[in-house]
């Protein structure tokens, strides 16, 4: 059974068509790269799946059900910018997440924070941008969701933080769930991907297994991407 299905999905902002007739079926148990240059429609697709935008036409099903309270229960979403209230302390945020998400594992969150040497009594506003991003990732990965959607999780972070993020994603990945990672920084991330989706001008350009593509073309995903998207 497919975990996420998109049927003839289209979205425009005013007259600009951002997503054009997207069809997708994503199974469980995979790490999937949603790859495309800036402005290709990655974030729009992600927002539609999360119910933050409404499609102009087409439908999205998660576990065969439409986007709504039930889909929100099983999707853990990391947006590309911060979405936390900076006036809250880390432990308040943990309480907030565990109040609303039944699948949130408090202990795991505290464990991950401890590794980062983050004091749970600190207010978010007192933290650096990088720290805030890590807290956000910890909160998102401490859920036992069916689908994790991470929008540009490694955009604009230093190499050490990037390694930490990739490690956290890998060690928290389980067979029952899938992870969609959107990014344009492919070489940093391709090693951990099962499957890749290339998205170009609002359309799915290619969807395949990462290792198969490498074998077929004798090139890295990054190189294949660069060739396909040459200006």
């Amino acid at each position: 059974m497919s975990l996420l299905t998109c049927h003839n999905l289209s979205k425009s902002y005013g007259k600009t068509l951002v997503l054009n007739d997207i069809n997708l079926e994503i199974p469980s148990g995979k790490i999937i790269g949603l790859l495309g240059p800036n402005g290709s429609g990655k974030t729009t697709l992600i927002k539609l799946i999360n119910g933050l935008l409404m499609p102009n036409s087409g439908e999205i099903l998660i576990n065969m059900k439409p986007v709504g309270i039930n889909s929100k229960k099983v999707i853990s979403y990391l947006p590309e910018h911060s979405y936390l209230n900076f006036n809250m302390k880390v432990n308040e945020l943990i309480q907030y997440f565990s109040d609303f998400y039944k699948d949130f594992d408090k202990e795991k969150a505290y464990q991950l924070l401890k590794k980062l040497n983050i004091n749970a009594k600190d207010k978010l506003s007192a933290m650096s941008k990088g720290m805030k991003e890590k807290v956000q990732l910890v909160l998102v990965m401490s859920r036992k969701a069916d689908l994790y959607i991470l929008d540009e999780p490694i955009g604009g972070v230093d190499p050490a933080t990037r390694d930490y993020i990739l490690d956290t994603i890998l060690t928290n990945f389980n067979k029952e769930a899938s992870i969609i990672i959107s990014t344009h920084l492919i070489s940093d991330i391709e090693k951990i991907l099962d499957e890749v989706i290339f998205i170009k001008n609002g359309q799915i350009y290619l969807y395949g297994e990462a290792d198969e593509l490498r074998a077929q073309k004798g090139k890295s995903i990054d190189e294949i991407f660069r060739e396909e998207f040459k200006c």
């Binding site: 005013g14 999360n50 119910g51 935008l53 309270i69 936390l84």
Partner: protein, 263 residues
Amino acid sequence: MLKKVLKYDLQSMGKSLFPLYAALIIMAIILRLLNLVADKLVLIEIIYGFMLLLFVLLMVGALFYTFFIAIKRYYKNLFSNEGYLTHTLPVSASSLLVSKTISAFVYLIATSIVMILALMIAIDTSQIFEILKQGIEIMALSMKVSNSTIIIFSILFIILGYMSYVLMVYAGISLGQIHNNNKLVFSVVWSIVLYYISQIISIVMLGVMVVLINPELIDMINQNSPAPDEMNQIIIFSFITSLILIGIYYIISHNRLKHLNLQ
């Protein structure tokens, strides 16, 4: 889930409003103490005058500030970056909206109560209450109802007024989100548009009532001589108008929350 949403809305607004309440009460106490010794020293009298001015300003500002905090919470929690989290919680649009409405209501009442308390602490209010009481009695007599009816209706009137303004701005902000750019500007524009529409609706409703229910009303308004029955009708009618407006605002906001456009 409503309970949990409400808990965080109340908490968050409380963080901004409790300092205001503390300031009002502390200032009221200082005023009372200064008053006791004011006539003994010119300097203290000057300080007292200054403090009194500040107190009045704070009192005037308190309700506006409460409105502002309620509206800010609505905008920030639902339509700023924070909205990305709020709207990916497994919570229905109506829970979010009802919680925002209740929390605004709770704090507007709380602010009003604190204001009255502060006033009672700051100055000798027995005279004010005496005047108020006389006013109520005169109204009760002229409208042929009991004193308590007047009090209850006045309070209801104030609350409905509060809430219709809060919900009007909520709806205005919600409508502002339809636009793909300048959402904040359009939120203000839509709030103003809704204000004028509500004025028009009120007038139309009045007209409808005059024509359908009691043609004599128009004479009364012209002659400016309130008769008890007509007065009651007008009051009940304006209640109904407020309720209808609140209903319309709620439906608009709810509809927008169900069709998000977070960009």
